[in-house]
Amino acid sequence: MTEDPNVAMARARRYALLGKLAPLIFLLLLVIIFAILQPRFLMSLNIFNILRQVSIFGIIAVGMTFVILIRGIDLSVGSLVAVTGLCAAVVAKGGVEGNFALTADGTGFHWAFAALAALAAGTLAGVLQGMAIAWLAVPAFVVTLGGLTIFRGIALTISNGGPVSGFSAEFGWWGRGLVGPIPVPVIIFAVVALVAYLVLTQTRFGRAVYAVGSNPDAARLSGINVNLVTIATYGVIGFCSGMAGFVLASRLNSAEAVAGTGYELTAIAAVVIGGTSLYGGTGGVVGTVIGALLTGVLMNGLVILNVSPYTQQVMIGLIIIAAVAFDAFIKKQSR
């Protein structure tokens, strides 16, 4: 009945390791399966295609990792991508035709100001939501659900319903440019992920994020300002949404109010598939990157195999549930 504690411990450790490696194993399995079924899948053009596709929601997923680590959630990111994309577009174009103009002669600003506008707007929106969550004690789910419609409404107001398009080549480089064979958004994603990884693992703020997610009471009793960490964390995801908004506008050469619809779920899925617990405190950016790649590979592979888009959605949903179920199972075994 009672197990030798050493054996039990070793078993728990094995399961813990398995839990860490599971997303990677899944990813490799998927790649192998798709490659066998359709050799075209492994062509470098397709690989970069996947990466480019992954990079935009991947940037958001990196921010979402912070939020989920503190037991939070952000449903507003898709709408925020639209708002921030439009902010960048408006600054780059100097206004919206038939709605308003920022400059008298209708000339736009340098792309750097456009990017800055998107990042600032995103960060501000995130911080405001974080304040509502921390200080007004409204659940994150509710605040960001509100944010989802508020930001979409703001986006519609700014754009007056239509797209804002046609930017300078420099503006377009951030979404469509290449460095060697590598698309620029992929590089941005990699840099964002790397910085986030370093922040989470190497800094005091990263420690605080894990502490608040692991045990908010213990964090508070250890002198951590839990409210401040919460607000900063939502600032981080706002910043990431702003970056994604800018890159998306650049890539599409157009910003519109319906951009980014559904990104929140893709980003959350990537984080959860990557092994970050919705209960907070465990997981990290490495898992999220793998989770984002896994989601991208899955979507791309199903398209290449000519699976109907309807069926694709069913399969993606099932895989999300399976990933979380597996995570829960591992948690139980490694205890």
Binding site: M9, Q202, T203, R204, F205, R207, Y210, A211, S214, N215, D217, A218, A219, R220, L221, S222, G223, I224, N225, G281, T282
Partner: protein, 522 residues
């Protein structure tokens, strides 16, 4: 008669015990319970006749709660048997005990805050009509009449949450009444009742007794025990120390039985000359708000350098609440706190920490550790090692400092990167203590430092507390474990219902005299 029994778990036939015969309603024989190899109940026998009101007495940690949990099916015994009407029974879950007619009125209310009073009373056994619909009418009437018996006039449709704590307690009792219970176990039922309500409860107990219901009354308040109970059992360290008839004994004798264990831990003995006053607390009181009662009413003490001041009191006396105010967790209601002569009112834990106060909380699992995070992260959480440029963690510095503590405190961990949850309770506690000691606080508040800690590690923790005190830290020790208080403290203050009842030199104190001051009696 008051036998101090020789505690031999095998010997269940106790001399002088009320004779056992077929008319026992509930009987426990030689109950044994262990948690993780630690024996918390060591062969306890106890019986209840119909109409008997028995007091179950003992200090915190004596095993009363475990006993209640065994009798009510929350836990299963590792040894011994429970008999109902002379038949052996096994309660695998609380509902089994419920069906057998055993009701428990718990210290922490277990009502559903959002349900109506009537629903709460009938939760788990909702009456239904012939058609399977809930019989609201009957439910309301029955609740009304049960509450009427208790002289409680509340709207049975009101949500439980809208009642005062005392009223909720009465609703719990009403719940036991509607269940036609044959045995009612009351766990500290008067902790939040006013004197009038207490008197009322006494009448209800007498009524229950006349109806042939057996009552097991668990309380620290010996005056109530004298007023309500006919027989008593005293537990100490998981053993039945004595039992008998209440009117044949005296309160001092009961207190002696509850507290009078040998202090097995050697007193430090070192003559620590107390240094200058570090922390002065004058007439501190907590701020009541909403239905939260004022736990701290009038607490004053002075804490010196190099000193360990013991804060003794039973659960609910206001010990932890005092600590929470000093650490900036709860607002100070009234009174003054002086830290090294300067007025001090911390607005947050970080403010208290900056002022040089540390707090090791009483609930390690819920309030101290980050279970999934590494030993290093748990250690470094209080910012023991300043960060490098750009807020980067000084991992090397942290590891070096932690390794020192691991060596001096003999912390057993597979690796400093292992999650802290993989360590034993004692080792976790040492890491938590290290987290605070490494900050070199001026005042360290340690709340139940050895709760859930194995015996060997307990000694280590005690040594550690003595050592930091010798280094000049002013230590405020809160503990329910009187031998621990006696073994570590230089001076001891006792709290009772939020008031300081005595301040004594530890050398002249005994568990008995402390217990006298910690409990309520005439």
């Amino acid at each position: 008669m008051n036998q101090s029994l020789d505690m031999d778990p095998v010997k269940t036939e106790l001399p002088g015990r009320v004779q056992r015969s077929g008319n026992m309603l509930l009987e426990a024989r030689g109950l044994v319970k262990r948690f993780f190899g630690v024996t918390v109940l060591n062969g306890i026998s106890m019986s209840l006749q119909p109409g008997e009101v028995r007091a179950l007495l003992g200090e915190n940690g004596a095993g009363k709660s475990t006993m209640i949990n065994l009798l009510s099916g929350v836990l299963q015994p590792d040894g011994g048997e429970i008999f109902l009407d002379g038949e052996p029974v096994r309660f695998l879950q609380p509902i089994d005990a419920n069906h057998a007619g055993i009701s428990v009125i718990r210290q922490e209310l277990s009502l559903f805050p959002d349900l109506s009073v009537a629903e709460a009373v009938f939760a788990g056994h909702l009456p239904t009509t012939r058609f399977g619909r809930i019989d609201w009418k009957y439910m309301r009437e029955a609740t009304q009449s049960a509450l009427g018996r208790l002289d409680l006039a509340v709207d049975v449709r009101a949500p439980v949450d809208s009642l005062s704590v005392a009223e909720q307690q009465m609703v719990e009792i009403a719940r036991a009444l509607t269940r036609e219970s044959r045995v009612v176990i009351m766990d500290e039922p008067t902790a939040s009742l006013s004197p009038k309500e207490v008197a009322n409860l006494g009448e209800i107990i007498a009524q229950l007794s006349r109806d042939g219901v057996a009552v097991l009354y668990v309380s620290h308040r010996l005056d109530e025990v004298r007023a309500f109970c006919s027989t008593y059992t005293v537990l100490r360290d998981g053993k039945a120390i004595s039992e008998g008839i209440v009117k044949d004994t005296t309160i001092p004798l009961l207190i002696r039985d509850m507290a009078g264990r040998d202090v097995e831990i050697g007193r430090s003995g070192a003559e620590r000359s107390s240094g200058k006053a570090v922390l002065e607390v004058r007439n501190l009181a907590s701020r009541p708000h909403g239905r939260v009662v004022q736990r701290v009413r009038d607490v004053s003490f002075t804490l010196h350098e190099n000193e360990i001041l013991g804060l003794a009191g039973i659960v609910g006396a206001g010990r932890t609440e005092t600590a929470r105010m000093l650490f900036g967790l709860d607002p100070i209601g009234s009174g003054d706190v002086l830290l090294e002569g300067e007025s001090f009112a911390p607005s947050s834990p970080s403010a208290a920490m900056k002022a040089g106060i540390g707090y090791v909380s009483e609930d390690r699992k819920a309030l101290s550790i980050l279970p999934q995070r590494s030993v290093t992260e748990n250690f470094a959480l209080t910012g023991v090692v300043p960060p490098k440029l750009f807020g980067r963690n000084d991992s090397a510095g942290e590891a070096k400092l932690l390794e020192q503590f691991i060596e001096t405190l003999d912390i057993r961990a597979a690796s400093i990167k292992a999650p802290i949850a993989t360590l034993s309770g004692g080792n976790q506690q040492k890491v938590i203590l290290a987290r605070w000691i490494a900050r070199h606080p001026r005042v360290l508040i340690v709340d139940e430092p050895t709760r859930g800690v194995d015996v060997g590690a307990k000694e280590d923790v005690h040594d550690l507390i003595r050592k930091i005190s010798a280094q000049g830290v002013a230590v405020l020790l809160i503990s329910s474990d009187l031998p621990e208080i006696l073994a570590l403290s230089d001076r001891i203050i006792t709290l009772l219902e939020g008031n300081v009842t005595s301040e004594v030199d530890a050398a002249s104190a005994t568990a008995e005299t402390l217990m006298m001051k910690m409990t309520k009696h005439e």
